[in-house]
Symmetry: D2
Subunit: 352 residues, 4 copies
């Protein structure tokens, strides 16, 4: 029996820390439940948002162990498994396999900028020895790029390699990868890690996303996925526009992932203080983010407005009204569909 195909929204979760800077197990378990309850399709611990690099090898295992135990199979886990070298990465794969994760995700070698053959050799060696399925993780702004021929070569030679997570946000690149791999490996999954392009990425053939916003507003990211897969283009687009605003606010303020940590606190979690120290001038920025975020969350119904209110925002619908083809959605059939989906959605959230 084949394993389930990787699809949908996998949350690259932050790790709550306690007052001493250690993993806050109770809060991590509560966060895990909270994410699953709000509809994410899977969890992706030890990703870039999860600051895998700022934990040591033991802590990385502890994070997966806690989350696997808490999840108990309700959703699949994609476990970040990169360690110092292939031998230790393979050992991590074995351990995560014993915990029952669906697959591991392994970032391309970083720091050194490796050539395509070296990137290939790295993944090939791991794939030849891993007992668990592997997702390649391409994030060229941080690590050695995995180019299209390398993805194809690995997909053809390594049955264990079942997916790629691509965080470049480069849409034509995604098309080229799908075109190169899907004819021979139709079950191979393509996940996008760039929230700002989630909806169009899904439309051009992606199977899902590993999106940091889903760790903060899982309802919103999941809804965007559902609307897009249902081909409710106009609704999806309106939500994508809002999500990009939220994403930009979190990703371009202060240093990544501080904006996301601040936002997670607004959602009611004790995140603790990050391990990357902040300069005095950065703390001021964080206050600004918090206010902006709280207003955006309030607008979407996910948080209360701040006490001193939010600035009136120009309706982003206006941004869309000039497109030439939106009339579809105002036809009677569409109105009904919208009403139905809203009712269903409210029901799902226990609001009716």
């Amino acid at each position: 029996m084949p394993a389930t195909r990787l699809a949908g929204i996998f949350t690259p979760n932050l790790v709550p820390l306690d007052a001493r800077g250690r993993i806050h197990e109770a809060e991590l378990r509560r966060y895990t439940d909270w994410l699953i309850d709000r509809g994410v399709h899977g969890l992706y611990p030890n990703g870039s948002t999860g600051e895998f690099l700022r934990f040591n090898a033991e802590e990385r295992r502890e994070i997966i162990a806690i989350m696997a135990d808490q999840t108990r199979g309700r959703v699949p886990i994609l476990a970040g498994a990169a360690e110092a070298n292939t031998r230790e990465t393979i050992a991590a794969c074995e351990y995560y396999h014993s915990l029952g994760v669906r697959a591991v995700a392994i970032v391309s070698p970083f720091y050194y900028k490796l050539s395509p053959p070296a990137v290939y050799a790295y993944f090939k060696e791991i794939a030849d020895h891993s007992p668990v399925d592997i997702t390649l993780y391409n994030i060229p702004m941080f690590a050695s790029p995995i180019d299209v021929p390398t993805v194809r070569r690995l997909a053809e030679e390594c049955p264990r390699v079942v997916a790629i997570k691509d965080s470049s946000g480069d849409l034509p690149h995604m098309i080229r990868m799908i075109q190169a791999v899907r004819p021979r490996r139709p079950e191979f999954s393509f996940l996008t890690g760039w929230d700002a392009a989630l909806m169009p990425m899904l439309l051009i053939g992606c199977d899902g996303g590993t999106n940091a916003t889903s760790g903060i507003v899982p309802e919103l990211t999941r809804k965007l996925y559902d609307l897009t897969v249902a081909r409710r283009i106009d609704d999806a687009l309106a939500l994508q526009y809002k999500l990009i605003t939220l994403f930009d606010t979190m990703i371009y303020s202060c240093d990544f992932p501080e904006g996301f940590r601040a936002a997670l606190r607004l959602r009611g979690f004790e995140t603790g203080v990050g391990r990357q120290p902040l300069a005095a001038e950065q703390h001021i920025d964080l206050e600004g983010i918090s206010r902006t975020l709280q207003c955006l969350l309030a607008e979407e119904g996910f948080a209360d407005q701040p006490v001193n209110g939010c600035p009136p925002r120009e309706r982003s619908d206006a941004a869309l009204s000039a497109r030439g083809f939106e009339s579809q959605s105002v036809q009677p059939a569409n109105v009904e569909r919208i009403v139905e989906s809203v009712v269903a959605e409210l029901a799902r959230r226990g609001l009716t």
Copy 2:
């Protein structure tokens, strides 16, 4: 009465040269007709594909004059008008206005990498003195980038600035621009210059494209536009996948725009030899492109197969079959629509 909104596919046409390297007027006129007949919405002479930089100021005017005369208002013309400095650019705007072009397109200052305020000041001075509508042209790989705040500032302050052509291919960037400008300037147009992302760009709100492929396979680019605007997502996607293959073959082989020039010869035009000399080793590459192109064109019904045949190609449909949401397209209504469109298309091509 307001001018027509810029929308649809504008072709950035190459300029046929004669045996002495001069503008081949007769062939340019024939090419103009050919493009209009095959359904492009507008023409965009003196763009990057048109090698505006390799002509002198007089030749640039001659090109627009010939094409405006030949077009005689059948389709709007977007005239590339950048000259050595703002004074000469404004003079060119005046001349093109006298020829009746719909608008001019002005590339951001190049060679020097200008700061956002300098880019703003450049366009502001031109916009304040131009008698004709202006399209900003952002192509960050070649010229000083026009960032989102600068686009918004120009859109707010300059009624003459009515559109932006963006060739970055960066989809989130396009969303950010639309979000920043459309609420206040709902008639402002957004055109994408990156063929590899045309379909998703249209889906997220673009009004059209200035796409080099439309100068080679206008039928194909126009069809992709029509399918996308009609929200025939699956059909559009299949065509986008094919277009990206064609686009890559032309753009990544030899130096731009030689791949496009070779392809245009295959469509039956005397292009002449380009003004940028080619090294001996580059000529070899061109032969390879020609073969590949002819096969691709043949596959789409736009050219005969080469004498020695084409390699069997894996069906790109397979690339799409694994997506999770394609079931829509096999519903009866869709089948009918497809049949209808195929019949109509065959009729349009005179094949029925």
Copy 3:
């Protein structure tokens, strides 16, 4: 009889404009004399500092004609000759040859990013038809890079190509070029266009520089050249440190070359307003530059202090005193040399 080897400091001069934005011939002639009188070895009109791109083809010829007439052979002229295409560039070479220039300088093709074979083919075609010696101009931040194998290939195949001006500031790259070319073309010249590395570039084998600072403080740039060639390392280094401060102030403030234009006004020339318009916020920056520049110039004895004085500056000598190997310079013979040069310098400035 072979032509003189290109060596020393060639000034890439700005072009003074009159109130109507036209070339200010009288001031350009006065500037030409002023530069020659202050010791630059040659002139380099129509370079990047000279904003060749913001003039039209006729104006570029006019600039060279005026300067050649004014120079009357006192120093060699290196004439920027790049035009819209090879045919027009060759015609410009012929014209500049008729004016008696020592050589032309041709920037690598810009806007489009050309491959090495295309860059080769471009220069090869020009070199095969030019009646005058050619200097390749490599400025990878603005134009297609000319890589080491291409420089070697052109040096080997084209006797007309006699030099390269490299503005990358990349010292190992310069070593690699010299190593690749000099064994077979010992008379080939290597000029650096990056003022911030002039002294070390001369020390590792360059023959001279085309440095924008020499258009503002020709005395200073010439002196740095002389000190370096005379192997007065410590004195040269102290001056290089000061020059880098001046260079940074001019190049990193506002948009290039506005900092240089402002500085040239301080030296007493009517520069006119540049052709690239400035935004309101840029004008404010210019005032800051002017003050800084005037103070630096005053410190070096080339201008009066501004009325409201200059901030006390930490002695840059301190920056040098900690190096581990300067003991050589305190030997008696060196002390004498230093004293002599200081006395001579003071005398030259009329301060004794």
Copy 4:
């Protein structure tokens, strides 16, 4: 009593591995002695060449412990101490301090691209708690850049920060750093990590280098340092030219540091197989490197020629012979020439 100032050549050593891929202690000890015997001024384990990232935390400590024990104070050790986060890095600093290392070197945070304030905060926190002197390590091609204001800020606020190792190879950047820091911290050291610019870097004020070539040809790198510090410019330059050829051969072939590993084997050390797996096509490259390296080493007298001989090499002296000033500084005739030229120059300037 103040600690010794960091100066001279510090070798970033590779770590020999045994047949099982573990640290080969005996060979590491032999290598340590070999380096010290050949004159390097210090050792720099756990640098980029030492592949610190491909060892785990325990191994990194083991490497330093072995080398400190073997060195027994003969030369100072600069210990690479970066760990997963500031807490663990500080613990590593404490451990290395207990081993008696002269200082630690800490690379700027990598993977994530941090802003200047975040880079500052990172080093500030470590510097406030480290018991041992710290060298900042700037390698912008691999890690978050440490900009000049941040270097100055850390130098001013943190007495524990005593040096910077800069591997950018950017000479003007080095001048700017020295200028910013030396006036207030005259004992602060500047080390260059870019072998291709070692000689000019020393000439413009650097105190030494951490150069990978010194791990392969310590005699050569040390000699280049000595010649440069003694201001034997011509001899130093000739050697710098040869070193750049050797450096390029090792650094641009295969993936770093495989070229260096291959070369170290040629010097008689069992290096073992690197931890980054190599693809089949990369092994072929390594054979080529080996041959080239052995020939270069033989030419310099550091290895036997390969059995099948070496290709005749054009004398690199030829590359230097065309410069105008290289023999000047030594022979009597040159002194006369200098005097003559100085007199002539003074005359030209009207000073005699």
